[in-house]
Subunit: 157 residues, 4 copies
């Protein structure tokens, strides 16, 4: 997992708490905030944006990622999320799939150790007060994932 | 339909063309750009952000709307969209549903005429060169829509 | 709009009421049922299937349509829907988009009159007791829709 | 992981191959089939049902699950999937989230050993010829998942 500096972690913590305040969640009353740190150094925020037709809602993590992509940032250092739960809630499967699309190629290697860098983007999950956090790579949260390679492997058959 | 100034229209046209350049669409190769004008005067951009798992992709319009909501803007003057099609392509049903959530209450009335302002947010659809456009209100694009009222009506039974 | 016989309408009404009883909606408590009449004469049912991650839920209409397609039926005569609302609630935008995909080609014409049969699939919306209904074609519910033609027009540029 | 009999495995293998033939995938050309074995003994099939608006498409696994739920089956023994890829492709994150909703409570225990039965529903992933398969529990594919508990924990704060 790529290392984050204490300053970067503090920035993500402060940012998720602020991002969460914009949550539009009249249906679940479950406020989610997200902060996405791009390789460029820019931080993108997201909140959940629900809909009366529940499946048309969009999560905080996907709000942050589409925002970043739409502004030219497609490579990321870390993504942090906070919810109203006292435990460290994790991104849903939809968001894990979207994070995974931008988590790097399966074939990347660490330039120093030569070890494979398999989808190592860290996902930082805060509890509701941001007093605790849990960190997992996207590969740990969505192991044996379905990705671009699956489509191209099939096309090559 | 609320009137847009020439300056606002020109701004939306210029902005969708730029927004479209950020499209992440390796699967469809169909680039979509969006520009969303908030009542605050701020313009939010969006592009489509596709996924190897096609249903996990997000459209340009929803990128722009979630971006606005996540930054505190939830009231809008107009939304514009452009695609790679030579005709004036329209938002998909998913996006129409999301636009509708933020298009105002069904009970709003025009302060001058007293006429109902039923979901009158204008949707401006440009052709691929932005030389032509088609304008419809969200009520015209998603008539007899499903909205927050449907859920509360049911709860009141 | 294609004509339905009284017998077909009665069958759809009876079927939506039964389909609704299977709704899995612990989050919204809003039960939706669907009945889809295929050209083959077979009737497919659907209910909403919600998810703790709200956007991962699936509506009744899409349940019925995917069920039909997965069993080889892709041409339809009518789709009916019922909810817990005392008014005749309509399908959300996501479902309208999915219905539209299977509502026929824009170029079809009535063999007798020669008039265009533009996406004329009827959508029958019942109120909660099925004592009232409202009928609209999918073209009326999703006018100027985004469809397969938009993608192929762009590819031809 | 719950044990499947050879007969059940053979049934799932035969069923996914057949289910895949119904795939509606004019956009990806990537055919996916699914077979879902309910505790009741009934087998439900699914295929991917794509849409010109890519995000409105639905995967094979979700087709099978919504079909089962809409017919009264909500407890499952196993889910199998096949794609056009020569490797054993896995369900996308959206489908993992939907499978997880019906994979049982986190508090269930094995009646014999007393060990926790944490979301042990087996997911069987076949390669394109069904000559190979990979099996993982849904907890292995979506570890530390977001589920109903997260919403109720927050409500209890
Ligand atoms: Zn999510
Ligand atoms: Zn869309
Ligand atoms: Zn719907
Ligand atoms: Zn899937």
């Amino acid at each position: 997992m790529s290392q984050l500096t204490d300053k970067e972690l503090a920035l993500l913590k402060e940012t998720v708490l602020h991002a969460q305040t914009f949550a539009y969640c009249p249906y679940s009353k479950f406020r989610v905030g997200c902060a996405l740190l791009a390789q460029s150094g820019k931080v993108y925020t997201g909140c959940n944006v629900e809909n009366a037709a529940y499946p048309a809602g969009i999560c905080a993590e996907r709000t942050a990622i589409t925002k970043a992509v739409s502004e030219g940032d497609t490579a990321f250092k870390a993504i942090a999320v906070i919810t109203d739960s006292p435990s460290c809630s994790s991104p849903c499967g939809v968001c894990r799939q979207v994070i995974r699309e931008f988590a790097g190629a399966n074939t990347a290697v660490d330039p120093v150790s030569g070890n494979p860098l398999r989808l190592q983007l860290p996902v930082i999950m805060f509890n509701n007060t941001a007093s605790k956090s849990l960190v997992r790579t996207i590969d740990q949260l969505l192991p044996h994932s379905f990705g671009p390679e699956d489509l191209s492997d099939a096309a090559a058959v």
